[in-house]
Symmetry: C2
Subunit: 333 residues, 2 copies
Amino acid sequence: MKSRLTKILVALLLLTSVAHAADSLPSWNDGAAKKSIVTFVTKVTTAGSPGFVPVPERIATFDNDGTLWCEQPMPVQFYFALDRVKELAPQHPEWKTQEPFASLLKGDLKTALAGGDHALLELVMATHTGMTTVEFEQIVKDWIATAKHPKTGKLYTEMTYQPMLELLAYLRANGFKTFIVSGGGIEFMRPWAEQVYGIPPEQVIGSSAKTKFEMRDGKAVLVRLPELNFNDDKAGKPVGINQHIGRRPLMAFGNSDGDREMLEYTQGGSGARFELLVLHDDAAREYAYGPAKGLPDVKLGAFTQALYDQAQKDGWTVVSMKDDWKRVFAFEK
Amino acid sequence: MKSRLTKILVALLLLTSVAHAADSLPSWNDGAAKKSIVTFVTKVTTAGSPGFVPVPERIATFDNDGTLWCEQPMPVQFYFALDRVKELAPQHPEWKTQEPFASLLKGDLKTALAGGDHALLELVMATHTGMTTVEFEQIVKDWIATAKHPKTGKLYTEMTYQPMLELLAYLRANGFKTFIVSGGGIEFMRPWAEQVYGIPPEQVIGSSAKTKFEMRDGKAVLVRLPELNFNDDKAGKPVGINQHIGRRPLMAFGNSDGDREMLEYTQGGSGARFELLVLHDDAAREYAYGPAKGLPDVKLGAFTQALYDQAQKDGWTVVSMKDDWKRVFAFEK
């Protein structure tokens, strides 16, 4: 009795969702990109169709920086680290002469980042570790509640792409589980990803520091150690996906060379799969730094010509922000 | 219109679930253990009650060996490794003289395991790595479909505890997300956990080998490397929980010293939390190896006197398999 009633109610719920799916992408122009998404989702969700995929296998993975929110002029987490350096500087007099901190404190980002990945890692470790996971979560929450984008003056959480928010909701309404798979810090994203993207902490995958279990005043805590645990970028993304999800994505979304292996791994699965890259070609509404417009690659978040060529060859959908998106941010108009 | 209909349907669904919750634990005797579970779940799921916990925070973590299925006379994964040694032996003539393989092939488990954790790790690496993740998944699926318990002759998947299967379903019906957090191999459990426990791969946390992304014949694969990636036992369990879930469990279930830190970590969260240990004191229907009955500790899956004392002191629920469970396995009667 209960079982039959439940089944009927679930069926009704699913019908309601599917019926309203077609107009759930209002910020997308009717073009090839939107069509490729809707066509694929319709195929894998149509019961009885040869391409039908059961709900538990409907896994969609999204890069974060440059795919779900703006990563220019620098990734958001870099500004967080920078503000942490300023805040912690009084406790670190040695930073006045020690790179990359000395240059950062002078506002000279170029020199600070000349040290490459090593400098970046040192910066992250010095500003992101040494506290408990609970303390760090609060630090991130406090920062993200007020920190603003240097060009638009909007909160970073408002710098999320409206078409991608609609896409996340559309996929979930069609039985997909949506995951973030980012080179950014897992503990930097989790405190706000649920509210901003509707993605709970257990569906956020990212780079991480090691942690250590300790009893403090009779309470169990995890302390963040200044040591890299996992680098969830490039060939690390499939590794992170397998570690956290244990299934190959059915759909994967990225915007840079750091996402190449995630899309390749998705494509390597059996049956039809879907891969998409967001091309930043809209200098007016956001930034233009994709190769197709002949712009030079930037160090972070590079969409190289080689990636563009691979997308063409492998049939990955490329979204032109300029042509495919009616609006980029919710605050437009 | 859609929104209101959906809300009504969801509300009906929830009511249906809750109404049937009380009799969802038929294999549990009406005693203190069952009562503590139902009381806690009722408290955290009753809207408007001071102890109410929103659905996304209803996280329940379960140890596997000895908590969800039988771990005696040896953990199931050990028998898997043993069968793999026999299968691979023709390709490894050197194993005839090399420990722990030589003793294993002679059927002398005691000598084979005299090497302790190092011998065990060597055994696991030699039998669990070197192939792709997809190949390993198939190897596990093939094995678990036919391998049988040495004493009962039942499939290992039938050696799961009926009361715990009911508990998993009961918690899920009350909005909980159920996770496995095991010292066992994450890739050893995932291929069958969804079918047997209703727990999808992305909710299985365990120990793991490192993997490496590769292109093979133009297809992306992950290759399993003979190197430990993560040991998800003891103080590793809270680390694994934080890494995979990013929230502290509301309820945690274990049976041995390997689960102590998971239960401590759960208890360390804000508000009311629930911790439970399964005590193996039923020699007739399963095995008796808990301390309260004055039995000697076994090396694997030890429930020490110290753990028992801590459970009493901290108010953790201790389940006596003998007294609290009407039946242990579904195949009884």
